[in-house]
C-alpha cells in the first residue's frame, strides 16, 4: 500500500499554546479516517500539518512520499494541488457564480492567465467537466447561479465539487458537519464517503460527533490536548477510551 500521510513525533505550538505534541500518524492511500476530539484538541492543526499548510516545529512530516520542508515554492504548490481541503467556512466567494467558484479549485495546476480565462470565459472542456461534477453532487441546475442564492447545504455541495474538480489524491475536511443539522450532516458524509470510494481518494475528516464518525469511518483517531489517545478501527474503540476522550481535564467529569 502507498502511504499518503506520515507524521513522526510532530509537534506544533502557537506561542505558548502547544497544539500538537509528538504525534505519530500514518494514513494509507484510500483510507477513510475521522479525527475526533473536543474543540481545542488539535484536530485542525493536525489537518493543516498533513495538508502541507503548516510546518511542524519538531518531528517529521511526509506527504505523498515527499518532505514539504525540502520543497521550493513550485514544489509546494504542486504538492498542495493534489490535496483538496474543505475548510469549515467552505471558503467560497458569495458574489461569484457556482461555476466560477468550482473552477478556482484547479488554480494550483494553472497559470495566472489560465485562471483568469477560466473565471471569465471557461473553455468547453472545463464547462463539461464541471457540469458533470455538479450533476454528481446533485446541484447541476445551479451551475450559473450566484453562490449567495444557494442554501447552506447546496453551498457545501459546491465546495465538494470544487474539491473534486481539483482531481486530488486526498480530501481533507475540517469540521464539515459541525454547523449542520443531523439529517444534512448524514447526507454530506454519505456523499463524501461515496465519492471517495468511487475515486479511490483518501479521506481525512475532523469532527466531534462520535456517532456519525463511527457510522461512516472505518478508522478513528482520537485526539486530546494535542496527543493521539487512540488510533484504530471503529470496532476496537472501547467505552472507557470514549469517556476518557471527552472528559475535561481537572474537571472530574464536569458537564
Amino acid at each position: 500500500m502507498e502511504t499518503v500521510f506520515h507524521l513522526e513525533g510532530a509537534c506544533r505550538s502557537f506561542g505558548a499554546v502547544r497544539a500538537l505534541r509528538e504525534v505519530d500518524l500514518t494514513v494509507e492511500k484510500g483510507e477513510r479516517v475521522a479525527l475526533i476530539g473536543a474543540s481545542g484538541s488539535g484536530k485542525t492543526t493536525l489537518l493543516r500539518l498533513i495538508g502541507a499548510q503548516l510546518a511542524p516545529d519538531a518531528g517529521a512530516v511526509r506527504v505523498m512520499e515527499s518532505d514539504p520542508l525540502g520543497l521550493g515554492e513550485g514544489g509546494l504548490r504542486h504538492l498542495r494541488s493534489r490535496l483538496a481541503f474543505l475548510p469549515q467556512d467552505l471558503g467560497l466567494v458569495p458574489n461569484l457564480r457556482v461555476i466560477q467558484n468550482v473552477v478556482a479549485g484547479r488554480c494550483g495546476r494553472r497559470s495566472l492567465w489560465g485562471t483568469l480565462r477560466d473565471l471569465i470565459l471557461p473553455g468547453v472542456e472545463a464547462r463539461r467537466e464541471i457540469f458533470a461534477l455538479l450533476e454528481r453532487v446533485g446541484i447541476a441546475e445551479k451551475m450559473y447561479d450566484r453562490l449567495d442564492t444557494l442554501s447552506g447545504g447546496q453551498r457545501q455541495r459546491v465546495a465538494v465539487a470544487r474539491a473534486l474538480f481539483q482531481e486530488p489524491v486526498a480530501l481533507l475536511a475540517d469540521e464539515p458537519v459541525s454547523a449542520v443539522d443531523p439529517a444534512r450532516a448524514r447526507n454530506l458524509l454519505e456523499l463524501l464517503s461515496q465519492l471517495c470510494e468511487e475515486e479511490g481518494l483518501t479521506l481525512v475528516v475532523s469532527m466531534h460527533q462520535l456517532e456519525l464518525a463511527k457510522e461512516f469511518f472505518p478508522r478513528l483517531v482520537g485526539l486530546k490536548e494535542g496527543r493521539v489517545t487512540f488510533d484504530g478501527s471503529t470496532g476496537e474503540l472501547s467505552e472507557d477510551q470514549l469517556t476518557e476522550l471527552f472528559r475535561l481535564e481537572g474537571g472530574g467529569g464536569a458537564g
Partner: protein
Amino acid sequence: MNGLGTMWRGKRLVVLALLVIFAACAVRLGPKVVGLSEGADPFGAMGRFFGAAFAPSFADQNPSLPPDATPFLERMGSDLLRTFRYAFIAMSLAVPTALVLGFFSSSAWWPGAMTYGRPGGSRRLLRGVLRGLRWSCRLLITLCRSIHELVWAMFFLSAVGDAPGTACVALALPFAGTLGKVFSELIDEQRQGPRAALLATGASPMQAFAATLLPQALPDLLTYVLYRFECALRSSAVLGFIGVETIGLGIRRSFNNLYFGEVWTQLYVLMIVVIAVDVIGARLRDRLNRGVLRRRAVAATSGSPPATERALRRTAPRDWLVRGGVLVTLGLVLLSWNLGERLTTDLSARQRSDRMGRFLTKLTPEPARPADKLAATGERLAALREHRGEVATWAADLWKRNGARALLTTVAIATAAIILAGLGTALLLPLGSRALARGEPFGVLGTATGAVRLFWEGLGFLTRGIFVLARSVPEYIYAFLLVALLGPSAWPLVFALAIHNVGILGRLWGEVMENERPEPSQQWVRSGASRGQTYLGSLAPLSFNRFLLFFFYRWETCVREATILGMLAISSLGYYISISRNYFHYDQMLFYVLLGAAVIFAGDLLSDWLRRRLRGGVVMS
C-alpha cells in the same frame, strides 16, 4: 434615566475637549467675522444674492451683449460638458494607477502566504525587497494625496502652459492617491477564508487575489469609484476658478458681474448633476450586492428532462443594466479623450522645454538659482548643493515671516470648521434619522396619528435633503460666495468648510446609526423616553466611536481644503501660495505648498493612528 452617566463615560471628556479646542481656534482666528470695507452693506448684498435663489435666470442677464455672442444656456451647457469631460479623463487616469498602487500596498500579494517552515536567506532577502516596494507605494499614495488638486494644477499650468490635459493630470494625481489608499484597505478587509482556501490548494497569491479578493471587493470598489467620480465632478468644477473652462469659471464670471440669477442656475445644475451621480451610486451598490435572480427556472418540474449545460448557460442570470452601464462608461471615456478641444498645448518641443527650464529655474530657491535659465540638471543640483546654507536661511526666514503663522491659521480654520460641522450634524442628525424621525420611533408604540407620522417623516426627508444639498456644492464654491458676501476673513472659510462637511458627516453618521443594533434604543423608547432622550441616551453614545472615526477622517480632508481656501481670503497657506504664484515666485510657492503637504502628511498619519485605535479597518474616504 441613570444610564446617561455610564453611557457617556469618557465620551463627555472628548466632547468637552473638542469645545475647548474650538474656543482656542476661535481666539486664534479673531473676532472679525465680517471683513468688508467701510460703507459696504453685507446684508443688502446677501439679500440680493439669496433673493436671486428664487429667480434663477435662463437667459443672459447682461443687456449689452453683442448679437452673435453665445447665449447663456448654451455656454452653461458646454461648460458642463467640459466639466464632465475633464472628470472622465482624470478618472480614467486615476483608476488604473490606483489599482496598481492599491494592489501593491495591500497585503493580497504578500508572498508570506506561501511561506512554509522557517524562511531561508534568499526568501528573507526577497521579502525585504518586497516590503520596500510596498512601503514606497504607500509613500507615493500619501504624497499624491498631500497636495491638493488645485495646487497640482497651478504647478502644471505654470510648467507646461494652459492646456486642459495638464489640468486633468493634476486632478488625477490626488485622486489616484485616495483611490489607491481605499482600494488597498478594501482589499485587505475582505473575508480571508476564500483566499486561504485557495492557497491551501496550491494557488499562487496572484491567482487567489484574482479568484477571491478581487471579486469579493468588486462591488465596494465600483461604488467607491462612482463616489470619487462625483468628487471629480466637483473638483473639475472648482478648476474653473483658476481658469480652466468648466462650470466653475461660469459661476465666477457671473458672480463677479453680479448676475446672481445666472449664478444660481449654474449652482442648481451642478447640484442636480452631483445628486444624480450620488443616486446612481446608491442604486449600483444595491444591485451589485443583491445580484439578479434567474428569471426562468430551467427544468424546475421533476418530470421534465434534466437541463443541459447549454440551456443553463443561455438562461443564466445576467445583469444587463450593470454591464450596459460599464460599456457606456467606457464609451464615454473614449469620447472624452477624443472629442472636443485639444488637450495639449500647441507649443513646439523646443518651446516646451524652454518653458519648463524657466519654470524649474524659478522653482529653485532664490539663493541657489543658476545664472543660466536653461541650465542642465547636473548644474542645478550642484548649485543647490553649493548654496545649501543660504537655502536653509532662506527657508527659515520664510518660516519666520509668514509660514508659521499661516500654518497655524490653516490648522485652526480646519479644526474650527470640523468641530462646527460636528456640532451642527449632531443637532440635525436625530431629525434626519430614519429610525427616529417617524411616527413611531424604532417601530415601537404604534399610537401615532396620521398627522404626527406625516410631520416626522416630512421632517426626516427635509433634513436628509439638507444634507444632500449641503454636500453637493464644493467647499471652494461656498467659500468663494461667502468671502464675496462677508469679506476676506478666516471665518467665511470656516463656514464654507462647515456647511459642506455637515452634508458629508450627516450621511456618514446617519449610516453609522442605521447600522447600529436597534435593541438598546428600542428599550429606551419602550420605557417612555422621548426621541431626544433616546438619541442622547442610547443612539449617540453607542455610535460615538464610529462618529469620531469619520470625524477625524473629515478633519484630515478639511486641512487639505483649508490650505486651498486661503487663496480666497487673506489667510491660511493658500493666500501665500497664490500670492507667490501671482508674482512668479515659484520657489516661495513651493515652500508653502510643501509646508501644507507636511501638515497633511502628519495629519494623515495621526488620523490613521486614531482610526486604528478607535476601530480597526473601517474604510471611508
